[in-house]
């Protein structure tokens, strides 16, 4: 066996750049996902800063309105599809095989392709800014018929979405298959770590939702270029039809972002509480319920389009219902901490930050779920505040927690704990400075996606912009911490976290070897 391996390494495994281009190893691919995601986070973040700079004070100062709209669009798309989703797929790649005792992913070659579809898609998105007429200035929701008025940048965005969708679908098929088929003997479904469960459920959401998005943008494309009338009343279509199809994808999409984040938190909190996760089974059922419900509530994004009132009532009730399983999760996490023996290293800090602020964002979601209130707040900054609480303080913070938590296992070195704590405190303070005040703006009626605003909104916008720059700079610290850990971090102990009890900590050395489980472990 060893001899065979030697043979492999010397002949089949390219080195240098080609190692990364051709790799079929889940860890290499996970690493690439994570770095790609971070790069995209920077790109999307710089776009956010352009937005915030223009909004620093009333008047048009730095950018033209149409460029502003393009920044909003690309910021949304890049953050969602380029930064957050790939980050969690990166975690899935690194962790799932290790956590279920598998040698690798089920389809390692396809896994490579799932990743390598991202750079062309990202390139198309960025390229769209440089074609005549610029990128699409339509918002990440791409509502018809504004899309029909756009230039060729819109088409580039459409194809980028297609390719991103293919990547997600292939990645998800891989994850589902790995989880269902490659578990070590004895690893029954109800023994899987919760992170694995959340990814299984997320992968189903992706497989069901992404093709629908592909359909929606395909119809947009044919309406633009081939004379179809899907979204045009003149031919019997309806612009609102686009919204229905988009949100049938879009609402599950927000849980696609949230559920893996729940998974990471469900690993971190027990580890630092030194106490098993409270209510494992109910966590699984709650996650599954959220996933199912997420396909039944999409039109809560469309309360103002003029649906029949019965439909509005249904969507309101269904949406409110999601608070129940999400509440179960929140209560379970707090109960896990209850009577634990807690320590507060950086991963735990980010997990607590997540818990606190995600719940806050969930509550504003509940406010928006109430149709009469949403009619006031729809398309205002209140919505912007809501979703940055669940996506930045939620998903992004959870990703930070995950990186700090598993970094020692991945690279065998420790990050700088003091700097990590700084990163947390700076992030949480500037985050709230940026986004808390946006609730007030929304309540007072400031619409979103505008490059300029009336004088009543000036002060809070200024605060928000200052916060955004602070938050952005704090992320440079994160980059520094990572580089420092990789280059000169202290050697990590075999098991840096007392309470961590999943297979990658108990059955594999630190750092984890290139091939995870050459022989499957037996799980009692």
């Amino acid at each position: 066996m060893e001899a065979v391996h030697e043979h492999d390494h010397s002949h089949d495994h390219p080195t240098g750049l080609m190692r990364w281009v051709t790799t079929t190893n889940h860890k290499d691919i996970g690493t690439m996902y994570l770095w790609f995601s971070f790069a995209m986070f920077m790109v999307g973040g710089v776009m956010a800063l352009i937005i915030r700079t223009e909004l620093f004070q009333p008047g048009l100062q730095v950018v033209q309105p149409e460029f502003f709209n393009q920044m909003t669009t690309l910021h949304g798309l890049i953050m969602v599809f380029g930064a957050i989703m790939p980050a969690f797929v990166g975690f899935a790649n690194w962790q799932i095989p290790m956590m279920i005792g598998a040698p690798d992913m089920a389809f390692p070659r396809m896994n490579n392709w799932s990743f390598w579809l991202l750079p062309p898609a990202g390139t198309l998105l960025v390229l769209s800014m440089f074609v005549p007429g610029g990128s699409a200035g339509v918002g990440w929701t791409m509502y018809a018929p504004l899309t029909v008025q756009q230039g060729m940048g819109m088409d580039l965005v459409i194809f980028a979405v297609h390719i991103l969708g293919m990547s997600s679908i292939m990645g998800s098929i891989n994850i589902v298959t790995t989880i269902l088929n490659l578990r070590a003997p004895g690893m029954t479904m109800m023994k899987m770590p919760l992170f694995v469960w959340t990814w299984l459920i997320t992968a189903y959401l992706l497989i069901a939702a992404m093709p629908v998005l592909a359909g929606a943008v395909t119809m947009t494309l044919t309406d633009r270029h081939f004379g179809t009338h899907f979204f045009n009343a003149a031919g019997g279509g309806d612009p609102v039809l686009f919204q229905h199809i988009f949100w049938f994808f879009g609402h599950p999409e927000v849980y696609i972002i949230a559920i893996p984040a729940f998974g990471v938190i469900s690993q971190v909190i027990p580890a630092f509480s030194r106490k098993p996760l409270f209510g494992y089974a109910s966590m699984v059922y709650a996650t599954a319920s959220i996933a199912i419900l997420s396909f039944l509530v999409w039109a809560h994004h469309m309360y103002t389009v003029g649906m029949p009132v019965e439909a509005q009532l249904y969507y309101m009730f269904a949406t409110m219902l999601i608070a129940v399983p999400t509440g179960v999760k929140v209560f379970n996490w707090v109960a896990t901490m209850w009577k634990g023996s807690m320590t507060f290293e950086t991963p735990m800090l980010f997990a607590i930050g997540f818990l606190f602020l995600f719940t806050l964002g969930g509550f504003t979601g509940l406010v928006l779920a109430l149709t009469p209130v949403d009619v006031q707040l729809h398309d205002t900054y209140y919505v912007v505040a809501h979703f940055h609480y669940v996506m930045v303080a939620g998903a992004l913070f959870s990703a930070f927690a995950g990186v700090y938590f598993w970094l020692p296992k991945w690279i065998g070195k420790m990050y700088d704990e003091t700097l990590g704590k700084w990163h947390f405190w700076l992030s949480i303070i500037f985050f709230n400075l940026t986004f808390f005040v946006q609730h007030f703006l929304g309540l007072a009626g400031m619409p979103r996606r505008i490059p300029d605003y009336s004088l009543q909104f000036a002060d809070f916008n200024m605060i928000s912009s200052i916060g955004a720059f602070g938050f952005g700079l704090s992320q440079l610290l994160f980059l520094y911490i990572l580089i420092k850990a990789i280059r000169s971090g202290e050697k990590a102990p075999e098991k840096p976290w007392d309470g961590a009890d999943t297979l990658e900590w108990t059955h594999l050395p630190t750092p984890a070897p290139y091939h995870s489980f050459e022989t499957p472990p037996t799980v009692k």
Partner: protein, 283 residues
């Protein structure tokens, strides 16, 4: 090329995926240039498609080679089954988006356009019926009837579902010549379907004045049948590959997932057609 002691096959590094990515990038970029009338579009697109074909041939060739040299075990086989099932499910969801559009227009938006204030203020005189081309499209068209060619095509596709099942059964019984013949029959039926469909499109454009631009009906008709036809074409190509492999003596009675995967796909295409026949042509 390391086979794990546990028996799990792990492929060695592969350059096929990156070709696929480059191909898709070129196809997307070329397509955009073409649609916007910018220079170089068609050439870029064609290069992209060629790279794509190269990649598909190479990648599947590698997989077939690995399969035939016995590298795949039972567990890999199960993985393929899960993978193919969920791939087909994702295809179902893609079609669902277009069926959703069809139902929405038939049941909601077209009636709304002929209703109450919308009709009174914006589209006076418009009445809601299906097939509709919408209130502002003057050109008339004749909808496609169900009981002519479409019914024949339904029969063709259903028969092909039977023939491929017979072929499968023959494979399991190791009756190779029955297998080969029924595979051939299935392919012939698939090709006939495509030909009939192509003829039907020509008929629609030439005689019925039914085009992609014929409002709600035209858009849903051509997009649904068009994507279906595309899937039949892909399915037929897959059948041909499988047939050639059968002729070469690939597949064993107890182990032939390559065959089964294609058969599943073919049945999926079949079922989608039934949906189309009922909701697009018939009702």
């Amino acid at each position: 090329m390391s086979t794990q002691p546990g028996g799990y096959y792990l492929p060695s590094p592969s350059h096929w995926p990156i070709f696929g990515s480059i191909a898709l990038f070129l196809m997307a970029f070329g397509g955009v240039l073409m649609m916007n009338g910018a220079g170089g579009g068609t050439a870029t697109l064609v290069v992209g498609v060629l790279v794509m074909i190269y990649m598909l041939v190479g990648w599947f060739g590698t997989v077939i080679g690995e399969s035939e040299s016995g590298k795949y075990n039972k567990q890999v086989d199960v993985s393929f089954r899960w993978g193919m099932s969920w791939f087909i499910f994702s295809e179902v969801m893609f079609f669902a988006a277009f069926f959703g559009a069809l139902f929405y227009m038939r049941v909601l938006s077209v009636p709304w356009l002929a209703d109450a204030d919308t009709a009174a203020l914006l589209w006076p005189g418009f009445t809601a019926e299906w097939p509709a081309s919408g209130p502002a499209i003057a050109e008339q068209f004749t909808p496609m009837g169900a009981w002519g060619l479409p019914a024949i095509n339904t029969a063709i596709l259903l028969t092909s579902g039977v023939t491929i099942t017979i072929a499968h059964w023959a494979l399991k019984e190791n009756k190779r010549s029955t297998l080969n013949w029924f595979m051939f029959l299935t392919i012939a039926l698939g090709l006939t379907f495509i030909a009939v469909q192509a003829y039907e499109y020509g008929h629609a454009y030439k005689d019925l004045n039914l085009t992609l631009e014929s409002g709600a009906y035209g858009a849903t008709f051509f997009m649904l049948t068009g994507f279906h036809g595309f899937h039949v074409t892909v399915g037929t190509i897959m059948l041909i590959v499988i047939w050639l492999r059968c002729l070469k003596g690939h597949f064993k009675p107890e182990n032939h997932f390559g065959f089964e995967g294609v058969a599943w796909y073919w049945h999926f295409v079949d079922v989608v057609w039934l949906g189309l026949f009922v909701f697009v042509y018939w009702l």
